[in-house]
């Protein structure tokens, strides 16, 4: 069934903005990514990118407030897997995040922007949309048949 299905299918998971939920988010995405037919290496990369996006939402959009809502929508067919993650926290402008500078982090004993860098490196597409006062959305997608 999975190989000849061009129709877009959808699944959705809603969780609270608590780091406890990162593992169930990863499990949710993992199962579908495998079912679509990505290699296990690509599946690992996809779940890491989703983890990084959700970790950023918990830490920055909700400032570690654990009762916010995160919606993870999966849309997929036999060509493309899209993960849309929605929150109602503080809007985020990805253009303000520079690429990571490890030498600087070494001096400052902290890191920032690593998650964003990983998302951009591991996925084919990363898009942020914020509608102030309503919602923030990050869209991650991966095409099937890509080699990396």
């Amino acid at each position: 069934m999975k190989t000849d299905n061009k129709k877009i299918r959808e699944k959705e998971l809603v969780v609270k903005s608590n780091t406890t939920n990162l593992s169930s988010i990863r499990d949710f995405v993992y199962a579908t990514a495998l079912e679509i037919g990505f290699s296990s290496e690509v599946v690992d990369n996809i779940i890491l990118a989703v983890d990084e996006a959700c970790t950023n939402i918990i830490k920055h959009a909700y400032k570690s407030f654990p009762e916010g809502e995160i919606t993870i929508k999966l849309k997929y067919n036999n060509k493309k897997f899209t993960i849309v993650i929605i929150d109602h926290g503080i809007p985020f402008n990805p253009d303000t995040i520079p690429d990571p500078d490890l030498q600087k982090y070494y001096r400052q004993h902290r890191v920032g922007g690593l998650g964003m860098y990983l998302m951009k490196s591991l996925m084919d597409e990363v898009k942020y949309v914020s509608v102030p006062g309503k919602y923030n959305q990050v869209l991650l997608s991966k095409n099937l048949n890509t080699t990396h």
């Binding site: 780091t19 406890t20 990162l22 593992s23 990863r26 290496e41 690992d44 890491l48 983890d51 990084e52 970790t55 918990i58 830490k59 990571p100 490890l102 982090y105 070494y106 001096r107 004993h109 902290r110 890191v111 690593l114 998650g115 860098y117 990983l118 490196s121």
Partner: protein, 122 residues
């Protein structure tokens, strides 16, 4: 909930920290505590064994950045060993091999500490 734990082996002057399970933003504080406890006891020669680590996100990588300078300021180091390809690829993507020594075997990583000491005592 993701499982993560650390255990420590005393190997003479060197302490080996074994990581097990899933290291993400939820479990990173466990590793922070492990490093803090070692530093409190002035144990600065640390080998981290990744053999049983199934997963790491940037929150886990950040823990290594948080402690490394303090440890090196005290003539110590965190050396990494027995990483799966999957975990190594993430370290590599972020340029961590420039900042950390990574060894194939635990023994090799432990021996590097005594080799460094011998050189210093010459």
């Amino acid at each position: 909930m993701a499982e993560f734990s650390t255990s420590i082996k005393d190997a003479g002057d060197v302490n080996v920290v074994y990581l097990k399970g899933y290291l993400d933003a939820h479990t990173a504080p466990i590793l922070e505590n492990t490093f803090s406890n070692l530093i409190e006891k002035s144990k600065y020669s640390i080998v981290v064994n990744f053999k049983d680590l199934s997963y790491i996100s940037s929150a886990g990588l950040g823990v290594f950045m948080a402690f490394i300078e303090k440890i090196r300021d005290n003539s110590g180091d965190i050396k990494l060993t027995t990483m799966s390809d999957k975990v190594f690829n993430i370290f590599d993507l972020l340029g961590f091999p420039l900042l950390y020594e990574i060894y194939k075997s635990e023994e090799e990583a432990i021996n590097k500490f005594s080799e460094t000491k011998k050189l210093e005592n010459r």
